[in-house]
Amino acid sequence: MSSTSSINLKDQFLNGIIKENTIFKLALSLCPSIAVTNNLKNGIFMGLAVLFVQTMVNITISLMRKIIQPKVRLPIFMLVISGWVTITQMLMAAFVPDVYAKVGLYIALIVAFASILARAEMFASKNSIIPSMVDGLGMGVGFLFALTVISFFRELVGKGTLTVPTGLSTQHVFTFINTKPVLIMVLPAGGFLAVGILMALFNWIDIRYMKRGAVSH
């Protein structure tokens, strides 16, 4: 393995986590970032599901890139994505039924994620299997990271607890704050507030320490 290629792969991996973080930087696929993040465990499993789908879709598209006709590529991408989402849905329903009961609808809706289709179109359909896999892992880990941060923040402030999964069906609930917590953070409205505040925090760090402009939309 030459040193240049390993540096490239590392950059590609980090790209999805920091520079093109799906939620905090690109502001795509926002729905689950608010819907499932009132509990750390749900947030982590949702993130893992996206990580799995993103990586597998990238690998599949990359393997098929030479036989896909450019004219019908979008329907084929959608077909591959919905295939992997269906598999993920079935796996989760079988192995983590309690999580699935809460986040099931949002797992099905991974199909409509702009970020997954975008990576298939922009990266996996043009690159060989290893870079595509690394790219998918990077984007997925970036997503997992964002969901973990948001749900950590929301559960801690809103309930004063942290639900940490210790296995597929086991979990441990840590209690940190025994006084009355800020209930609004676990309510639907709190999700929007939490994401807004966290985005502003990332912007603030950018402006303050990186000497770059805020992300403007």
């Binding site: 729905c31 329907p75 409509a112 807004g196 402006i207």
Partner: protein, 197 residues
Amino acid sequence: MESEFIKYFELIISASLINNFVFTRFLGLCIFFGVSKKMETAVGMSITFTAVMMISAALSWVVFNKVMDPLGITFLEIIVFIGIIAGIVQASDTIMRKVSPGLYYKLGIYLALISTNCIILAVPLVSVGEKYSFLQSLAFGLGSGLGFGLALIIMASIREKLELADVPAAFKGLPMAFVITGLIALAFTGFSGLITL
């Protein structure tokens, strides 16, 4: 008959206000934040959206209950529904361009956006999950479309005013939009006791 009518009315109210897709189910957020900058686009989007939503709700009900259920392939629902939606969007794009170019000029760009919207996929998935009848899923589609339109229009009118406000640098743009949505969502929780289903 009258109680039937009230049932559908309740379904529409519950889908549009109590379980508003944007504020309590958090779906369609990408489009919600994307097109709520201007009032004009918000109105155009809501009209197109409601229409496509009702057609897709009706069509997917027929396909699910008359084709997929007898064949025992209901586990393929995601793949089939996304295909139906892509087909409807493509078809209405072509039909609108031929039949009414003026309308196409106004609403055409929203059509393309709709296929990447998760609400449009969520409506058939939810109505299949709840085992709605044909008319019920139609009412559910209409209610969801109206609710999304209402959310878009409220948001657009606030954001137009926000242009003139002095927002801290870190909060400019999306973070502020999120905080505002949070506040609207808080107001919408007030609807939760409106009717009991």
